[in-house]
Symmetry: C2
């Protein structure tokens, strides 16, 4: 990532605390993988346990084959926090937090698989692992879980009010931030 020229380098963050907070603040991620030079991006569910990100998807065969093949993937988690209204259309933006994890998935089996599924279910619906019926051997066999180490991860955050261009401050145009949040229930 060091060689990348970014338009907004000030938005890049690389400390694990920031990255972990973004990964933990939602259970929907987008998984990117490549088949015959074509990238695919599919939504799936994740949970972080320590230095590992666990994924459990709708295991379409193409995804499963790819995840088990040793090929690199990318997992991105994004939270939309607000709509940034500026005095010029050009300076309109959104406030967001995103974490990007690069890595090669490792198939998870046995006890680690059960704990990973527990983490994913608890991430989506806290308390449900203890309340609902535990998985059978057959159910575990038809579920796929992979792990990605958080060795190569970064975060990007935009927060705060619009940044106006010189000369725009005097314009009679309303500006500010409309907050956005996900609401349950």
């Amino acid at each position: 990532m060091a060689t990348q020229v970014k338009r907004h380098p000030e938005r890049g963050r690389y400390d694990r605390e920031t990255i972990d907070a973004i990964l933990d603040d939602g259970f929907l991620c987008h998984l990117g993988f490549v088949v015959d030079d074509q990238p695919y991006v599919i939504p799936t569910l994740h949970a972080r346990v320590g230095d590992v990100l666990y994924l459990h998807g709708s295991p379409a065969s193409r995804m499963l084959q790819t995840l088990g093949s040793g090929a690199p993937v990318c997992v991105t988690v994004t939270h939309l926090d607000g709509i940034v209204l500026a005095k010029s259309v050009f300076n309109h933006s959104v406030n967001y937090r995103s974490a990007v994890v690069l890595g090669t998935p490792r198939k998870v089996e046995g006890e680690e698989k059960v704990r990973a599924l527990e983490a994913i279910v608890e991430h989506i619906a806290p308390g449900r692992w203890a309340e609902a019926r535990q998985p059978s051997e057959k159910e575990l066999r038809t579920t796929e879980v992979v792990a990605i180490a958080l060795d190569e991860a970064s975060a990007k955050i935009r927060t705060g009010p619009p940044i106006e261009s010189p000369g725009d401050a005097e314009l009679d145009v309303e500006s500010g931030v409309i907050p956005i949040r996900l609401v349950r229930g």
Copy 2:
């Protein structure tokens, strides 16, 4: 897509009306592209105009180089609609709508670029294109917009209550759907 074996083929939808509704119901998408066999997935903003999806990103140089290179990309838009609580942990799920667009981006210039930026700003914040200051020539030059034809697109939807396994109906476990929605303001 026809050769893909899906776990939940009944969730696949391919009519444009369904796909368009998902693309139009949110302005955050995840763009997947490949550099040196490594997939990247980054959040960006989109708007659909007829049979074309316009993207405008934080134009990191890697993304821009890739988008202009004739390489295929994938754009995915996902809406989380609910948490599906089942009587078994295995049958927990989420309700969602996602649209996946495969294609090769075309760089957009001139009047089409202005109309594409208008569509994106109006998608994020309806009414703002007319209210805020119009883009200058310099601002237009430092903005990149690409178009992807909606020739190869699909949608996947999960909706409704949990699907319980045989024998689980009698279990004394609460089940149902917790709705999720994005709220502005």
